[in-house]
Symmetry: C2
Subunit: 304 residues, 2 copies
């Protein structure tokens, strides 16, 4: 097994062709550019990637294309979560067989107010059915979107039961205290924050990095913060990346990020999102670019 993930993982946007299919060519170029810009890895098929808007076969095909095109599987944390256990198993097995660095799994999120026992059984089934020594699961905790999350007790039970397989978590709850509680309950467990706003705080409690949507637009600066968390520069770098994030967070984040990548590549096709997401209007894009420029952010300087 390779080393475990750390640092900045970018939850890579998924480009679409004019026909509305995942665009492997644009994805390949973008993935390589993000890694060149300082990303330590790529998280595929999470929220920012419109992962739940992709059919399982689309996800597996795009993963295979990226690996075949030269992106190292060990740098890929693959979103394999699904409400449907068989789909979760199939995608997780596929990623493990390709020796991806890990999978990032949502809990099943259709039913609400489900029990910890029900989520435990779901993950237990995935682990038993996939049955691979190459499987490393990162739990994807994002209650604001999924509405279903992982209690600290449940994480503890999963790690106690499957210490080789359940190795980390992405905390996209916006609650840093949750990360603190996890560090106390499962000290060997790798905690990523889901926003660079919490990167310094997360590293200071023994976390390992961040997996943040805005990594798509600001990979070099967030990476610089990660590499300088123990230096006098850290606080000012933290303020700088958080200021850029705040600009995106005022908008529909995924379409806004796609608009900026489109600007960086001078490629209108990059704006395209799959329903139910809707692209920014021209006016919204102009306003976004203007606000970013007021923070000395220029798309073409940050992504290349």
């Amino acid at each position: 097994m390779t080393d475990r993930f750390k640092g900045l993982l970018v939850p890579m946007l998924t480009p679409f062709t004019a026909a509305g299919k995942p665009d492997a060519e644009r994805a390949m170029r973008f993935g390589k550019d993000l890694l060149s810009a300082g990303a330590n890895g790529l998280a595929l098929f999470g929220t920012t990637s419109e992962g739940q808007s992709l059919a399982p076969q689309e996800r597996m095909d795009l993963l295979d294309t990226l690996i075949a095109g030269g992106i190292s599987a060990e740098k890929l944390m693959v979103g394999t979560g699904s409400c449907a256990l068989p789909d979760a198993v199939e995608m997780t097995r596929h990623a493990a067989e390709r020796k991806c660095g890990g999978v990032l799994m949502l809990p099943p999120f259709f039913y609400k107010a489900i029990s910890d026992e029900g989520i435990f059984r779901f993950f237990s089934e995935v682990i038993h059915q996939v049955d691979s020594s190459d499987l490393r699961i990162y739990l994807y905790h994002i209650p604001p979107v999924a509405q279903v999350g992982f209690s600290v007790e449940l994480v503890g039970k999963l790690v106690d039961s499957f210490p080789e397989q359940v190795v980390g978590l992405k905390n996209s709850s916006g609650d840093h205290n949750y990360s603190i509680a996890l560090r106390e309950r499962v000290p060997e467990f790798d905690v990523f924050c889901g926003s660079e706003d919490f990167l310094l705080e997360t590293m200071r409690i023994g976390g390992v990095g961040c997996i943040s949507a805005t990594g798509n637009a600001n990979p070099n600066e967030i990476s610089r913060l990660y590499r300088n968390v123990d230096t006098p520069e850290a606080e000012s770098l933290q303020q700088s990346v958080s200021a850029i994030r705040a600009v995106f967070q005022k908008r529909p984040v995924i379409p806004a990020l796609k608009a900026i990548v489109s600007q960086a590549y001078e490629d209108p096709q990059w704006t395209k999102a799959r329903p139910p997401l809707v692209e920014l209007s021209n006016a919204e894009t102009e306003s976004l670019v203007a606000e970013l420029e007021s923070h000395n952010y220029r798309p073409d300087e940050r992504l290349r």
Copy 2:
């Protein structure tokens, strides 16, 4: 095209084999029994059917098996909703090709706070891609679970744009005023309540019936209420079915219904649910049966 659905549609529970696969044989028997007991149709793969816990291929295979086994396609309203547009298109096309009476479609429900425009685009894509004169869509409005719903304005726009395809809605919001508002905005549109608690009220405003989880356990009495809405018996029948529903609603409804079907058939395998749902304990089942008996409800009398 056949007549449009009306009356009691039962959102049929999905039985599972010991290996955790959808159990076609048990499903076939149960579907036929429900139709014999008075159901006017069966709604497959909604919330009660654990539809989102099934892979698309599992849903399509089970549908084919039921039709091959002799259940008329025109009596089937098939849940084809998915967060992923290609999956929704594939399952909807499959159901239309088999000339099912209709499809029951959730909005894409992973992203929250999405725009009406985004949901409109999703359904517009499904309708254009499936491109079938046999397609009849029923919108599945269940905000307590999906968290994403259909505004009255959005329903109006969908019906105005696709009057041949978007023909009805299941209102599982628990808000009867929503049904009233729909009847005013789109008078030719077929409104089903999602609970028999609202059956009388729904019929009195020109609705067409109900699609209710507890139809799995109480089909004959709910059907009787439907056939007697204009008689002096109506109010007492309404009270009677609502009393039974209340017993189930105090519990995790789907496992509770499976426990009762298991009792009716004297078949322990029927209790099985797929994660993240968890079966009732023996004690919970005993308590449920006892409370039902206090309402003169005996499982074996209601289902056969």
